[in-house]
């Protein structure tokens, strides 16, 4: 074997080994913090799914038996913010509705599948029963926050473009590649930041008061977290437990 061939082989091995180590480290960095202690991702997912289905079955039995309060507890125990089971959310909302706990029912209907016509009708009934209103104003960042999903998609696209440019276009200027990568990171990061700290859809579970008037429980708002919940676009200060975001996993 010639020297250049030996060098090439050694390079390949070194590159492959390095890439595998990096990938492993990255997988660990992304996945592990989100998992329960002592569990790996696949086990956690299966467990959550099994818990959700078990809670759904047990809760349904309790509803059939008329034990609504216990059914609510069981449904809650099976719900995970990271794996949101729409049927579980719908059943929980319906059970809360039957228990006259309409603000919570609205929250769980909103967490259920929005395209489900049963969810739509029950949500309409709950809103009408409560005379609740929806405050769409989310402050100055609301229009941007509304496009957070699009922003994150753009970030993903830029990241893949950067990778492709790096891999297949040798003559791609370094500045261009850096701009792509930086753009991807900034765009995706902005989307996450908006969803995390920007206005988020939420339901009030208790009354928020202000000198100008009160926002009653059951009001659907755009709320923002800055150490305490604030109903964006309004001057209301709400107790922490009064605001429940539709998607708590953000």
């Amino acid at each position: 074997m010639t020297a250049p061939a030996e060098n090439a082989k050694a390079n390949r091995w070194r590159s492959a080994t390095f890439a595998v180590l990096l990938a492993a480290a990255w997988l660990a960095g992304v996945s592990v913090p989100a998992l329960p202690v002592g569990a790996d991702s696949s086990v956690a997912s299966v467990t959550e799914e099994r818990d959700a289905l078990g809670a759904l079955a047990a809760g349904n039995d309790l509803v059939e038996a008329g034990e609504l309060e216990r059914a609510i507890e069981v449904y809650r125990s099976g719900w995970s913010p990271r794996r949101q089971h729409p049927t579980l959310a719908y059943n929980l909302g319906t059970t809360l509705h039957l228990s006259d706990r309409l603000p919570e029912a609205i929250l769980w209907y909103r967490r259920a599948d929005a395209d489900d016509p049963w969810v739509e009708e029950n949500l309409w009934l709950a809103r009408r029963s409560l005379g609740s209103r929806r405050i769409a104003t989310g402050g100055p960042w609301a229009p941007v926050a509304a496009q957070a999903g699009t922003l994150s998609n753009v970030g993903i696209g830029l990241a893949w473009l950067a990778l492709l440019g790096l891999a297949f276009e040798r003559r791609l200027p370094r500045a261009t590649w850096l701009a792509l990568a930086l753009g991807a990171i900034l765009t995706f990061g902005a989307a996450r930041a908006l969803e995390r700290w920007g206005p988020r859809p939420a339901v009030l579970l208790a009354t928020c008061r202000s000198p100008a008037g009160d926002l009653p429980a059951g009001t659907e708002v755009e709320a923002r977290w800055d150490g305490t919940w604030r109903v964006a676009g309004e001057t209301f200060e709400c107790p922490d437990q009064a605001v429940e975001p539709i998607d708590p996993a953000l």
Binding site: F18, V30, S129, A249
Partner: protein, 600 residues
């Protein structure tokens, strides 16, 4: 006909004219005269009076008497009245009856046909006792000559009286009858809104055939209520100025002053047809006279201050009751709160109480609409008793237990001259969430039940997005690190990466002592690099490097520097050995290494 009966008939007509009939389509009254306790040998009059709107045919009543025997009658009197264009007929049937034995006697059963209706007569009884109360001497027991002096104005049996008159007419003396009207008001200083009783009495000592009002007061400043004639209204004999005289209640009105002021009630003027015995004639002398009552001056008192905050002018003795139905309902359904204020007093003008709407979760618990109001009044004795009903529709806005605040209505009690409060409490609504509501288009939305276990997958939003985003970036980072570590990608033919090869060639060339050899090796290394990295054709003249490299995307300044380096290498290769070549040797090596990074 007895004196009472002789006066009663015309007076009924007067009362009807004066106040307007308050009767319904038909009204039947039954009365004994005297009533209460009577003696065994006492002759009573049983009067059955039928009043009906319009022209109605009335057949004589069929009656069954208990412990009574009929000694006369029935006599029948028909009266036709036209009030405000409406015809009202009344027919009076009078029997003379006498008790048979001690105990209870009376009308046990009876019926009368009024048009096509058969009406049952109410039962009436009297107690037959040994010692009945002393009465004004009745015609039959009176001195038969009294009437000659005008002391018995109501006569007795007409036939016998005619004979008596005929034989005794020379002994009859004519005298002016004593007839006058007296109006009174109690109390004379009523509070604003308090009922005052206006009564017009006729005093007479002769028989009155008819009484026709020619002027009635308008009672300006009062809300008025006509008090119907009492069913047992009969002349009563009173002593006035030392003389016995008959007194008949002609008219009664309940008056409610509207505001505090001095008011005057104008006198009543009437024309009366008076019957008395003519001198030397066996027949009655009938004449018409006019009489006016006295006017009344009234001072209406203002209600005392301060009044309760929510006082709305109610005066009387009142009681508030509430009905709330249904008490258990769903959002979207309505409950009706029915408040009934009743008691002595005139309530028609009262405003409805304002309901305090409680809040539930910071919002009004229900929507309340303006109440529907119903008013009614009736007369009990001489007292107007009113009833005011307010019906509120409550539309709950939220589910939960809604406790209505106590509802209070303050009123002024004229009897105690103080403000009092009547209230209702314990009004609670249990409102459940709606499970069925009608949509705007008319369709009905019903609460759907829970779902059974379905295969709907759980949704996950962020993890896959994070993966999609991070994967290319991590891969690119790995790629960069590998490139930096290895000096570039290994070529597909297995040869070392061009830059790495160039660097190695530069290192090898640095070992060369001779400047010309060094320059030659460097030039060759660069040509190899440009061929491998930038795909320049082998043997391409160096003067064309610039053009080709720029065309392939190389940085122009780096290319320019490379061209300069190539010229210096050429100089070094063919220049005579000078002392400065050693310096150039090190310089071109350094410049080559730097350029290798820029043109990689």
């Amino acid at each position: 006909m007895t004196p009472r009966a002789a006066i009663l008939g015309p007076l009924l007509a007067l009362l009807t004219l004066a106040g307007g009939s308050s009767a319904g389509a038909q009204q039947v009254t039954v009365a004994f005269d005297p009533s209460g306790e009577v003696g065994v040998d006492e002759v009573l009059q049983l009067t059955i009076r039928i009043e009906a709107s319009g022209s109605v045919r009335v057949t004589p009543p069929a009656i069954e008497l208990d412990n009574l025997e009929i000694v006369g009658g029935p006599s029948r009197t028909t009266s036709v009245q036209f009030v405000n264009g409406r015809r009202s007929d009344s027919q009076t049937f009078v029997w003379s009856v006498r008790p048979r034995a001690l105990g209870t006697a009376g009308l046990s059963e009876g019926r009368v046909a009024i048009g096509s209706d058969i009406v049952d007569l109410p039962q009436r009884t009297v107690s037959v006792v040994e010692n009945p109360p002393q009465r004004v001497p009745r015609a039959r027991s009176a001195d038969p000559f009294d009437r000659m002096f005008g002391r018995d104005p109501f006569g007795r049996d007409r036939r016998r009286r005619g004979l008596d008159d005929f034989f005794n007419r020379r002994r009859v003396e004519r005298r002016e009858p004593e007839i006058f009207l007296e109006a009174s008001l109690l109390p004379r200083q009523p509070w604003v809104g308090q009922q005052a009783l206006y009564t017009l009495h006729l005093y007479t000592d002769v028989g009155i055939r008819s009484v026709t009002p020619s002027q009635l007061p308008d009672f300006k400043g009062f809300w008025t209520q006509v008090l119907p004639q009492e069913t047992d209204s009969t002349p009563e004999r009173v002593v006035r100025d030392g003389r016995e005289i008959y007194r008949i209640k002609l008219l009664q009105r309940a008056l409610f002053p509207r505001r505090a002021e001095s008011l005057r009630i104008e006198p009543v003027a009437t024309r009366m047809v008076v019957a008395r015995q003519g001198f030397g004639s066996p027949f009655e002398d009938v004449g018409e006279i006019e009489r006016r009552s006295n006017p009344l001056q009234i001072e209406v008192r203002e209600l005392p201050e301060p009044a309760p905050p929510s006082f709305n002018g109610a005066v009387g003795d009142l009681r508030l009751e509430a009905e709330l139905e249904p008490r258990q309902l769903q959002v979207g359904e309505a409950a009706t709160l029915r408040l009934t204020l009743a008691g002595r007093g005139h309530l028609k003008g009262l405003l409805p109480p304002t309901l305090d709407v409680p809040t539930l979760d910071g919002v009004p618990a229900f929507e309340v609409f303006d109440p529907q109001t119903q008013s009614s009044e009736e007369v009990r004795g001489t007292q107007v008793v009113g009833e005011k009903v307010w019906s509120y529709v409550l539309l709950p806005q939220r589910p939960g237990t809604i406790e209505l605040a106590d509802i209070e209505i303050p009123y002024f009690n004229a009897r105690t001259s103080s403000y009092e409060v009547t209230s209702v409490s314990d009004l609670t609504l249990d409102v459940a969430a709606a499970t069925r509501l009608e949509r705007a288009g008319g369709s009905v939305a019903e609460l759907h039940p829970i779902r059974q276990i379905s295969g709907a997958p759980p949704s996950q939003s962020w993890p896959w997005r994070l993966w999609l985003f991070a994967s290319p970036l991590v891969a690119a980072a790995c790629l960069l690190i590998v490139r930096r570590t290895t000096g570039g990608w290994t070529r597909t033919d297995g040869s070392p990466a061009p830059r790495r090869h160039l660097l190695r060639a530069l290192d090898d060339a640095a070992q060369e002592d001779r400047a010309s050899q060094l320059a030659a090796r460097l030039e060759a290394a660069w040509r190899h690099f440009l061929e491998a990295r930038w795909a320049l054709p082998p043997g391409l003249a160096s003067r064309r490097w610039s053009e080709e490299l720029v065309a392939r995307g190389a940085a122009a300044d780096a290319v320019s520097e490379l061209v300069q380096l190539q010229e210096d290498l050429h100089y070094l290769r063919y220049a005579p050995k000078l002392s400065e070549t050693d310096e150039m040797r090190d310089e071109v090596l350094a410049r080559s290494r730097k350029l290798a990074r820029r043109l990689r």
